[in-house]
């Protein structure tokens, strides 16, 4: 101000000039304060947004191993031939980068004898959005092509070979439905997100099975780099780097040896000639609920789902409506249990007092119920004659169970079925299981609008009616009998370890429920199941294994399908009888009968597990019996 006054003394208008200059500079300072201090952060963010890009480097997925450490899923290197558009552009001297790239790819295509699958648009988009990262041209190329490329590498500017981890399943299709497969993650992020992140390759996510159920544990943490780019999108420097963290290792309760036995036995199932084997088999440890094997046929090779496979092959696999190879029948298939359900009906009758072990019923081959126009037939049209509970299970007499089932009543039967866990999910850790259906009078009234009648109870008693069960549920029924009434929750993940070896998750045996029936009542049913396999006239005798006491029950449920009337054939059982170590359930979607088609599969499985030969005599007499 003193300065200004001195101006005024000389020339008042100089003072005015001084004020103008002072105010002008002050205005600049205020404006700069606003931009730099008040809104500094805003501009800082804008700068990061325009010049920082993140490159994601996928983490190697964790391994999946069986209970003995046999590797079921791990990673192998995939050799990808890529081009760097940034380099091509630098060499091209103002030519259009797409033309340069396509010309270079054309030459590469000739030397490697592989067609180029990239459109001009693919190249342009990559150039505009992801210039600093390589553009994959051929993924997962074969060794001879790697060699051919390496020979000419120096003459191929801008092209390079990079190695990426790819999921592989060393055992091929073994346990495919348990393991599942991996696929590309859905990139549904917003535009901006895609623009600010560069992906070397899309993240893999588990799509089915353990890969899906344990996806987060297997996936690991992707690493990444933050880079600065110039306005043209060229990388000018790295700011930070984070190494990818390997995913956790999943140990299954599954036993690869048993799984292989089960799958081979299933594949050799004696289904009618010319038909594919469609079915499932489950092997449980009845003492813990550990799943030792879980197979579904037909199967698939999860190795198919790698980046090198043409889309058409995968689409064909996914849309095969006839064989449905991707469908896990062991937990997703719900079938009528047929005569295997008679074990439950018998236990319900014994528990409710409606049946006593010594009651006999005379089977004449059919039974008239109410005033229905048709009689209810026994599978043995000639009739079984006088049968008691033991014989009824052993020979699978339908008439016995029509009568005794009606005496027991629908409530008592469904109560015991519920105790076995039917009609509800088992809580299996693989997920995506069906819960099945145990019908009741209330259910029929609301769903069908019809009243329940005695005939429904009779049908329910022999496992037909509206009953639906999964193979896993039936394996659990067998395990509960094996275990004398204690039912464990089935599980397949034994433990998960992080990359540094710490156990993150451990599968613990859990009691799912206990039967309310008395031990001797359960023993009665068990004993009848032993007879069904052990005795030459037992309908499940084809499951017999010499030197092993096998107990079980076969079943055949007739079913109307789009392909006509089919039979769902079953076997459930356990062994050894006194100290059971395994419980098994086998189902085939189309077969002759449980005793003829499913029981031999179970026999082969049990013989394999206990390393015994199948009962030769039983095999010789295979056609002498029917159920």
């Amino acid at each position: 101000m003193i300065i200004l006054r001195s101006f005024r003394d000389r020339n008042p208008r100089l003072e005015a000039m001084g004020i103008i200059v002072g105010v002008g500079l002050f205005v600049l300072l205020v404006a700069l304060w606003r931009v730099q201090v008040s809104h500094g952060e805003h501009y800082d963010n804008r700068q990061d947004a325009q010049s920082l890009r993140r490159i994601r480097i996928p983490a190697a997925r964790g391994e999946i191993v069986d209970r003995n450490g046999v590797v079921l899923a791990n990673n192998r290197p995939s050799y990808d031939i890529v081009i760097y558009l940034e380099q091509l552009n630098r060499m091209s001297k103002r030519q259009d980068v797409v033309q340069v790239a396509q010309a270079s790819l054309g030459a590469l295509s000739q030397t490697l004898q592989m067609p180029v699958g990239l459109s001009d648009r693919d190249v342009r988009i990559h150039y505009q959005l992801r210039r600093p990262i390589p553009l994959p041209v051929w993924r997962d190329v074969k060794a001879e092509q790697v060699a051919a490329f390496a020979e000419r590498a120096s003459t191929l500017p801008g092209a390079d070979l990079i190695v990426m981890p790819v999921r592989q399943y060393p055992q091929g299709s073994l346990a495919a439905h348990v393991l599942g497969y991996v696929g590309k993650a859905q990139q549904d992020g917003e535009e901006e997100e895609i623009e600010r992140y560069y992906y070397y390759q899309p993240d893999s996510v588990g799509k089915q099975g353990i890969e899906h159920a344990c996806d987060e544990l297997l996936r690991g943490a992707p690493g990444g780099k933050t880079i600065r780019v110039s306005p043209g999108g060229t990388m000018v420097g790295e700011i930070g780097e984070k190494t990818a963290e390997r995913g956790g290792r999943v140990t299954l309760t599954l036993d690869a040896r048993i799984q292989r036995i089960v799958e081979e036995a299933l594949a050799r199932a004696p289904v009618p000639a010319g038909k594919d084997v469609k079915g499932a088999a489950v092997v449980l440890d009845p003492r813990t609920g550990e799943v030792l094997a879980l197979a579904s046929a037909p199967s698939f090779d999860p190795n198919v789902f790698n980046p090198g496979t043409p889309d058409a092959v995968i689409t064909a696999l996914m849309t095969d409506k006839v064989r449905r190879p991707m469908y896990n029948r062991a937990i997703g298939g719900a079938y009528a249990p047929g005569s295997t359900f008679k074990t439950i009906t018998l236990l319900a009758g014994l528990e409710s007092g409606a049946i006593s072990p010594n009651d006999t019923v005379t089977c004449t081959g059919s039974l008239q119920i109410g005033n229905w126009h048709r009689s209810f037939g026994c599978w043995n049209h000639a009739g079984h004659g006088s049968v008691d509970a033991f014989t009824a299970i052993k020979e699978s007499c339908d008439v016995f169970f029509y009568r005794e089932g009606m005496k027991t009543g629908v409530e008592a039967i469904t109560k015991v079925a519920a105790e076995f866990g039917l009609g509800q999910p088992t809580g299996f850790d693989l997920g995506s299981e069906r819960k099945g259906l145990v019908p009741s009078p209330a259910w029929k009234l609301t769903q069908r609008g019809e009243r329940w009648w005695d005939g429904d109870t009779a049908q329910l008693a022999i496992g037909q009616s509206f009953l639906l069960v999964t193979p896993l549920q039936m394996a659990n029924v067998a395990a509960t009998f094996a275990n004398r009434g204690i039912s464990w929750k089935p599980f397949i993940v034994e433990r998960v370890e992080s990359a540094d070896g710490a156990v993150i998750r451990r599968g613990m045996p859990q009691v799912r429920g206990r039967l309310s029936a008395a031990p001797q009542q359960i023993e009665t049913v068990r004993h009848a199941m032993l007879g069904a396999v052990r005795d030459m006239d037992g309908t499940a005798h084809h499951a017999a294994v010499s030197g092993l006491s096998v107990a079980g029950k076969s079943g055949t449920a007739e079913y109307d399908t789009a392909q006509g009337r089919q039979k769902r054939v079953w076997f459930i059982g356990f062994a050894p009888y006194d100290e059971p170590q395994v419980a098994v359930a086998v189902v085939l979607e189309d077969g002759d009968s449980g005793g003829h088609t499913a029981a031999p599969v179970a026999g082969a499985i049990l013989a394999g597990i206990f390393q015994k030969s199948e009962d030769r005599e039983a095999l010789a007499n295979r056609d002498a019996y029917a159920d």
């Binding site: 002008g24 404006a31 700069l32």
Partner: protein
């Protein structure tokens, strides 16, 4: 004159003015280096070395101009003026065409911008003209009209190059001179009013890129990747500097080329400084200019005669509007115009013109009457 007398004159220099000038010049070289820096080990243009050469030459001119009595210089006012008009005409005919404009006169990489010469010549001519008008005459319209004519001829020639920034800056310079010389405020207001009325005519004469710059100034969000690019990138540079800045050579806007490399060392050098030195740096820059401008006004106030006062005022007006428009431009306060920042921006002609103008200020101070 004897050597002793010359030394005596040097001793009477305004050391504040010299100090601020040297500080800005040295800072300019450092930040021109930073503005052309492209990362460690990367080749970069050596503008900063050129700038040092220009300062070397500028210092010689500075001393020469400071020590020859300004009254002697001003007696040649018509010569300087005619020389400037001649150069402006020559550049229109023979100037090198850069980005569609003929502003450069020169040989190879060396060249001068006649517009910079013209600014000084106009200051001298108008001051000399007003100095010779008696107070009564200054109250008449003729004075205003003559002044406008003296300014208008070079202005039109500069506008024709086209160099809108330099043409426009002559307006506040002439207004400042007339105002301080005692021209009636009423007259000045009427001229300003007439100017506003003529603005639409001028608008029709503008090139489309000039119109774009003006409309972008009114709406910076318009076309941020096109004509709004420079403004937006400059705002990001200045704003991201924050309070304390990112540190010398740590600014990324010019290093990565977001702030275009063609403008970062000259017209947008302030953005580079503001990004790397933050608000603190901005304050220092404005503080140094404040020293120069107020020293200039003090020199005007203490000048031996009206001629000195007018010259000093004209120079202060020129420098002030350069500073205000340039810094204002980097933060969107003013439209984007090609006006460099005195002493900081890279550019030979302007460095020399500024040094000559500051030499003239020293000259007036040295020859002040000491009481």
């Amino acid at each position: 004159m004897q050597i002793e007398k010359r030394i005596e004159l040097v001793k009477r220099m305004d050391w504040w003015l010299l100090g601020a000038m040297v500080a800005l010049a040295v800072g300019g070289v450092f930040f021109i280096y930073s503005a052309s820096y492209r990362g460690p080990g990367q080749p970069m243009p050596s503008y900063y070395k050129m700038q040092m050469v220009w300062f070397g030459i500028g210092l010689v001119i500075y001393l020469a101009v400071a020590l020859v009595d300004y009254r002697l210089i001003c007696q040649w006012a018509t010569v300087w003026y005619a020389l400037a008009i001649g150069l402006l005409l020559l550049v229109l005919v023979a100037g090198a065409k850069v980005y569609g404009a003929r502003r450069w006169l020169g040989w190879g990489s060396l060249g001068i911008q006649p517009a910079e010469v013209a600014k000084l010549a106009v200051i001298i001519a108008v001051s000399y003209f007003l100095f010779h008008r008696t107070p009564e005459m200054r109250h008449r319209w003729q004075t205003v009209l003559w002044t406008l004519l003296i300014v208008g001829v070079p202005q039109l020639l500069i506008f024709a190059q086209p160099d809108l920034g330099s043409a426009v800056i002559l307006v506040p310079i002439s207004f400042g001179l007339m105002f301080v010389s005692g021209v009636r405020v009423k007259h000045l207001a009427l001229v300003a009013l007439a100017g506003v009325c003529l603005a639409p005519v001028v608008w029709t004469q503008l090139k489309s890129y000039q119109k774009d710059r003006l409309t972008v100034f009114l709406d910076p969000t318009k076309d941020p990747l096109g004509v709004g690019w420079n403004l937006n990138q400059s705002l990001i540079a200045v704003g991201s500097g924050g309070f304390a800045g990112k540190g010398y050579l740590q600014g990324t806007q010019s290093t990565l080329g977001y702030l275009p490399r063609t403008v970062a060392p000259n017209d947008f050098l302030f953005s580079v400084i503001a990004e790397e030195k933050g608000f603190v740096g901005s304050m220092c820059v404005i503080g140094l200019y404040a020293v120069i401008l107020f020293c200039g006004l003090r020199i005007a106030a203490y000048a031996r005669d009206r001629l000195g006062m007018l010259l000093a005022t004209g120079i202060v007006a020129m420098l002030f509007f350069h500073v205000f428009i340039n810094i204002g431009m980097t933060i969107g306060l003013m439209p984007v115009k090609g006006l460099p920042l005195p002493l900081l921006s890279y550019g030979g002609s302007f460095v020399l013109a500024t040094m000559a103008a500051l030499g003239l200020l020293q000259n007036i101070w040295i020859h002040r009457r000491v009481y």
